[in-house]
């Protein structure tokens, strides 16, 4: 856990004071709604369909039990007793009163939290690998890099009014769990042959209405030059990014219009002036930041625990949980545990105040009082002794937090959608629930294996549907809610070595009631074609292409596997294929390598 020093705390306190005054002026009529809007957005406050929504930063997804208890308290006092963890490692409250927001921010500041730059056209909360610091494949600890970038981006004077929002992701491990290819800037730690640490710099990736896989503009950036190089990229973007059309304002459009090569040249030319300047990082600063992180005091433990092995053998439900929700740790005798917030019937990412308090207690008892938030909207206890796994599982079960579905189809990522979000074309939460209800047989789920299913309620893509192995997007068709399906998207490497890809649309949209059937037919098609249990859904799509899946989704004769529900769907599919195309007017999906 990073611990603020006096200046970090003072800056956050002063931001609370500033926002309190801005809110006061707005409520007193001295600051118009239009002028207040960018100010409140820079502090994470949206005015949504039902009530304001306050997004609180969880920098790089790292959270202490004390902070989680404070979030629970805020959920009780100012909200309706729950909170929502987002896909960007943040937490959202959906029901606070505008006038109470300064008070909430003051309470957050007491536990070293804030809502700075969680929205608005500025550099947002930097995200990273939820296994930072513990992953066996780690090159550098990305938390330290993230905190350095957090401080650099916090209230940056030059980049508070960019053309559009700006998201940075950092990974410090060999396997990219931070989706660096679909961020405005992705940084991948790399180690040169001589042992020097630096970053591969990826620019211009992103989801939203024009999903694009980012481009590497520099293979190796020495770590000391990190901030001057970020300044150079941001300056080129701030000056030249489009401001005439908000749908073309992200950096990915600038990179595309300039071409990645030309854009890289412009950045290098700008950097030539900044390189070696005062923002160049020093060993002392990196050491200082690193030293402000507390680190678990691990015990020396044997790598294997006999009691654990016995419990796994004796209790199949526990074994299923260990298989899905327990992850490798670089320290012998320890493991990381995912707490699934994806129980069927609960909106993905939602937790009640009672659950937050209970999880905080478990973090204290089992994991050094720390937690992480994953971009899959789950919580992670990162440092659990293997011998404690069974006890932890027993404690999680009655809380409804032991669903063994990490990486499986029912671990659905879904944005708040039409139930909460003013921008939505369609609801996403009921769709997630219907799919979870259809795939409620755990053995079947485990047999299907790893499958990322992501749902967004509109083209803004907060549910990251483009990188779902199956992606579902809410579209509006004459005022009705329809859903477009993509397959083959992914983030993180697949079998063929691709780092990330945008899913391909399989055809016309579906009505909400059809979605569980369609997903089932896609899954059936995969099961019929996979070369072995080791070939995941997304790898099969990569090998055999979209066509077989398309035929499976829309027509019954295309694939050989028998699906019990298929016959009944024939008439529906035929009728819908004959009907109007639901996705006309929705911008095309484009794949840029």
């Amino acid at each position: 856990m990073y611990h603020y020093d006096e200046i970090d705390q003072r800056i956050v306190n002063e931001r609370v004071r500033q926002f309190r005054d801005q809110t006061r002026r707005h409520l007193a009529g001295a600051l118009s709604a239009d002028d207040f809007r960018p100010l409140r957005l820079q502090n994470g406050l949206y005015l949504q369909r039902h009530a304001p929504m306050l997004r609180v930063a969880i920098p790089y997804g790292l959270l202490s039990s004390r902070q989680l208890r404070r979030l629970a308290g805020i959920a009780r006092r100012y909200d309706r007793g729950y909170a929502h963890f987002s896909t960007r490692q943040n937490v959202q409250f959906n029901w606070p009163e505008l006038a109470a927001v300064p008070e909430i921010l003051a309470e957050l500041a007491e536990v070293q939290m804030h809502a700075i730059q969680t929205s608005g056209n500025c550099v947002r909360n930097v995200t990273t690998d939820h296994f930072a610091g513990i992953a066996p494949d780690e090159i550098v600890d990305s938390f330290v890099c993230c905190e350095i970038v957090r401080q650099w981006s916090t209230l940056h004077p030059e980049f508070a009014h960019l053309p559009r929002k700006f998201k940075i992701a950092i990974t410090g491990a060999a396997l990219d769990r931070a989706a660096t290819f679909v961020h405005d800037i992705g940084l991948q730690a790399v180690r040169a042959d001589d042992g020097a640490v630096g970053f591969r710099v990826i620019v211009g990736g992103g989801l939203g209405r024009t999903p694009i896989v980012g481009h590497v503009i520099r293979e190796f950036l020495p770590w000391r030059d990190l901030l001057t190089y970020l300044d150079a990229i941001l300056r080129v973007y701030n000056r030249h990014g489009r401001r005439d059309n908000k749908y073309k304002a992200r950096i990915k459009i600038l990179v595309k219009e300039r071409t990645p090569e030309k854009f890289a040249q412009e950045v290098e030319a700008e950097w030539a002036h900044l390189r070696g300047g005062p923002a160049t990082l020093t060993d002392a600063e990196v050491e200082r930041i690193g030293s402000r992180f507390t680190r678990p005091a691990y015990l020396r433990l044997p790598a294997d625990d006999a009691a654990l092995a016995a419990a796994v053998a004796a209790e199949p439900p526990f074994a299923a949980w260990v298989r899905r929700n327990v992850h490798a740790h670089k320290v012998p005798g320890y493991a990381a545990v995912s707490i699934s917030l994806k129980k069927t019937g609960v909106p993905p990412g939602d937790v009640t105040a009672g659950q937050m308090d209970a999880i905080a207690g478990l973090a204290d008892r089992y994991s050094f009082g720390e937690l992480r938030v994953s971009h899959e909207q789950n919580l992670i206890l990162a440092d659990v002794r293997r011998r404690d796994l069974h006890g932890l599982w027993l404690a999680l079960r009655p809380l409804g937090l032991a669903t063994p579905n990490i990486g499986l189809l029912s671990n659905i990522i879904a944005c708040p959608g039409g139930d909460f979000c003013a921008l939505a074309n369609a609801k996403s939460i009921p769709v997630a629930e219907a799919i979870q209800a259809r795939f409620d047989d755990l053995d079947y789920l485990h047999d299907i294996g790893e499958l990322d299913l992501n749902i967004s309620g509109c083209m803004n893509s907060c549910g990251h549907h483009h990188v779902g192995h199956i992606g579902i997007l809410g579209v509006d068709k004459n005022g009705e809610e329809w859903y477009q399906i993509t397959i083959g998207g992914h983030q993180g490497a697949t079998r063929d070595g691709a780092q990330a890809a945008i899913g391909k649309v399989i055809g016309p949209s579906f009505a909400r009631a059809e979605i569980p059937d369609v997903v089932e037919r896609l899954v059936d098609c995969y099961l019929a074609h996979r070369d072995s249990e080791h070939e995941r859904f997304v790898d099969t799509v990569g090998r055999i292409g979209v066509e077989p899946f398309k035929r499976a989704a829309y027509g019954p004769r295309a694939h050989d596997a028998a699906s019990p529900r298929r016959a009944g769907m024939e008439a529906v599919a035929a009728a819908r294929l004959a009907g109007p195309r639901a996705n006309s007017g929705v911008p095309g999906i484009e794949v840029v390598q």
Binding site: H3, D5, E6, I7, R10, I11, E14, Q18, Q22, R25, D35, P38, L39, N121, G133, V140, D141, S142, F143, V144, C145, Q151, W152, T154, L155, H156, P157, E158, F159, A160, H161, L162, A189, G195, A196, V197, W223, L227, N238, R239, R243, H273, G277, P278, A279, L281, T282, E285, V286, E287, R288, G290, S291, R292, F293, T294, R295, Y298, R300, V331
Partner: protein, 194 residues
């Protein structure tokens, strides 16, 4: 009439804006857009009174590199407060092109922008109509510190920190970090195993 703040005080504005050569007053200090300056530089330099140039958000300040010693004022227009290009323009003028004269933010300039505008090198602010001047003057103190290097504080916070202020946690960890850190720093947090 909007207020002008310079060096943290409200002052009278002596500058007259002329958008075209027909609007140029016979004498006195005049502010002209970049296009007019570029077209009639020589004539303008000869007229009595000082010259200032107004840059729009898309104007490249590099166009003024050779003229800056002649200019008593550079104004940067913010058509909307949310158009942040002028912040980069200001830093380039101050940090790259060495401009030391008056740098004025004009347009949609309110109190909530002043703190950052001052940090990137503006020293004069033509407030938009109706802005509360007392509140605006107070806004320069919205924050007492900032992390980044800027025109106002050329060194970033991490180069200005005094090392003595660390908390007990940092002190405790520093001991282990010194023992654990290899020479080539690798971003690893101190790891107290063993």
């Amino acid at each position: 009439m909007s207020a002008l703040i310079r060096e943290r005080r409200v002052i009278a504005d002596r500058w007259v804006f002329a958008g075209t050569s027909a609007e140029l007053p016979a004498q006195g200090d005049v502010l002209v857009p970049l296009a007019l300056w570029s077209a009639e530089r020589d004539g303008l330099a000869l007229r009595p009174g000082r010259i200032g140039v107004l840059l729009g958000p898309a104007d490249d300040p590099a166009a003024l590199v050779h003229d800056l010693p002649q200019l008593a004022l550079v104004a940067v227009d913010f058509p909307q407060a949310t158009d942040g290009r002028g912040y980069s323009t200001a830093r380039l003028l101050r940090e790259r092109y060495g401009y030391t004269g008056e740098l004025r933010a004009v347009g949609d300039v309110g109190r909530d922008q002043l703190f950052n505008l001052a940090r990137v090198g503006f020293d004069a602010f033509a407030l938009r109509d109706g802005e509360d001047v007392a509140g605006a003057l107070a806004a320069f103190a919205d924050f007492s510190e900032a992390y980044q290097a800027s025109v106002e504080r050329p060194q970033p916070l991490f180069r200005r920190r005094t090392n003595g202020a660390s908390s007990a946690i940092a002190a405790r960890n520093r001991r282990s970090s010194l023992a654990a850190l290899p020479h080539e720093f690798n971003f690893r947090r101190p790891d107290p195993i063993g």
